[in-house]
Point group: C2
């Protein structure tokens, strides 16, 4: 008997599809039901064996579901939450895969009301270059990090259920508060994306941009890889995490001001100090990753 | 009979060593003589067949040299130039591999005086993670770009000689003025390095830095790869190209101010516009590279 009798997934793309495949590969789920806005994606998820059935009416699928994953863009979550809450069984736990947490929690509080204890927010750290059900892989989360941001209203049992599902997928589980989560990801993910977009944009609007791009090499390539990310998705992430991102952007601008000052003054010692501290930290980080 | 009878290289590390190996592999040089500050590096270059001989006294090696490459850090070039100019033969052409050009040209004008026509500045765009003679490869410059920044005093013949040497190494040759070169590389190389160092430094000095580094993932990894670059070398590059780099830094700070404003105002349309322009330009660039 599998740990989860029935798992319902909203959004059968890379994130939701890989969650389904991971649970299935581990033998941790009996039945996976998928919902999605696009019939084509649902059909693809069926054809690829990502889901067992495409759901038709949430009202018929949720009362006996053990676990519901919201794996749609964050912007669609408030509407889906409002649609599903009335039909959740008393034991059903809902989680999400959104990359910002403060806004998702606010939407969940509005939609779940007194049932907010049934919603355990989460963020799987598994970006990938491809998207869609066809890109889903059973091992996407293997040895990847998943951050749970439990709410005070969550029971230990409900948090354990979500933790267990991600562990079946092979993930390493961490817990942060939603605010900690958003501050951390503003710094290590959202800000770098903003900075990378900014650099390429600054060049792209120049009349003689070809001259610049002609000589861009491997350093530029690495630095700007994330500037090829999806504009709409990153607009939404930036807006959703606006407050934390503005704080990080302010901190970074102060850092650039200091570098500007050191450079203008020809203060090589300070420049080298900053570069050296950065290199040491970057190396320590990279070695810890291995 | 090879095109170059004798090539003299100052600095037998990755840049100078690969130049020597490239010319030798192409059969374009009879004899390569190496000079270096470290006897150990010279011995290594000899053992690896990068050079034929280690030079002892520049006074004895330069009058019959066809080509001299200065492949040391830029900071050492003024001293080397002053030492070699008195001994150059009338046909000897000197070039360099420095990654900034305005400062190298200024040093060359001071050292070469009326013989400045014999100095043809160049910048091979071939960064690599490793350094030293042991990292040298005959194919390092194959299909890589080399920028010549000829001076008005250079004869067509002297420029052609330097161009030909790099072509033997398999490189694609471009020509810019020294000022154009420095502006372009400030934008596509020096600024990204500064920005990447700045991001890591901003995190590295926080008391709770471990929390941040724990959740840094692939986007952070790519963005900060160049923050593992050599601090002393990058201090020198930044100082050498200070004026152009400050201009680029100002332009970038203005770009960040605009993003800050759009974000603070919740102007999703402007954010998406900027991200979209950047993504399109990044994609076009990456496709052009293929």
């Amino acid at each position: 008997m599998a740990e989860f009798n029935k798992v319902v997934i909203f959004g059968v793309g890379l994130i939701g599809g890989s969650f389904a495949l991971g649970l299935r590969a581990a033998g941790a789920v009996e039945e996976v039901v998928g919902f999605g806005r696009s019939p084509k994606s649902l059909q693809q998820a069926l054809d690829l064996g990502v889901i067992d059935r495409a759901g038709i009416n949430p009202a018929h699928e949720l009362s006996d579901a053990d676990l519901v994953l919201l794996a749609t863009p964050v912007g669609q979550m408030p509407e889906i939450m409002a649609r599903i809450v009335p039909y959740l069984g008393p034991e059903t736990v809902v989680t999400d895969g959104g990359s910002t947490k403060g806004d998702v929690v606010a939407a969940a509080r509005a939609a779940f009301g007194e049932r907010i204890g049934q919603f355990v927010p989460a963020h799987p750290i598994a970006g990938a270059e491809n998207s869609g059900a066809a890109a889903a892989r059973a091992d996407l989360y293997r040895e990847r990090k998943v951050v749970l941001t439990p709410l005070p209203e969550n029971s230990v049992l409900n948090v354990a259920k979500v933790r267990s599902a991600w562990e079946w997928c092979g993930a390493q589980i961490y817990e942060l508060t939603p605010a900690e989560h958003d501050r951390v990801f503003a710094a290590v993910s959202h800000l770098p994306h903003l900075l990378s977009f900014a650099l390429v944009h600054d060049l792209a609007v120049r009349e003689n941009k070809e001259l610049f791009f002609t000589f861009a090499a491997s350093g530029f390539r690495d630095f700007t890889r994330i500037a090829a990310s999806h504009p709409e998705m990153w607009r939404d992430i930036c807006l959703a995490n606006k407050d934390a991102l503005l704080l990080e952007l302010d901190s970074y601008r102060a850092q650039l001001d200091e570098l500007h000052q050191a450079l203008a003054a020809g203060d090589g010692r300070r420049l080298e100090e900053i570069f050296d501290t950065a290199r040491t930290a970057r190396r320590d980080w990279a070695e810890g990753k291995r």
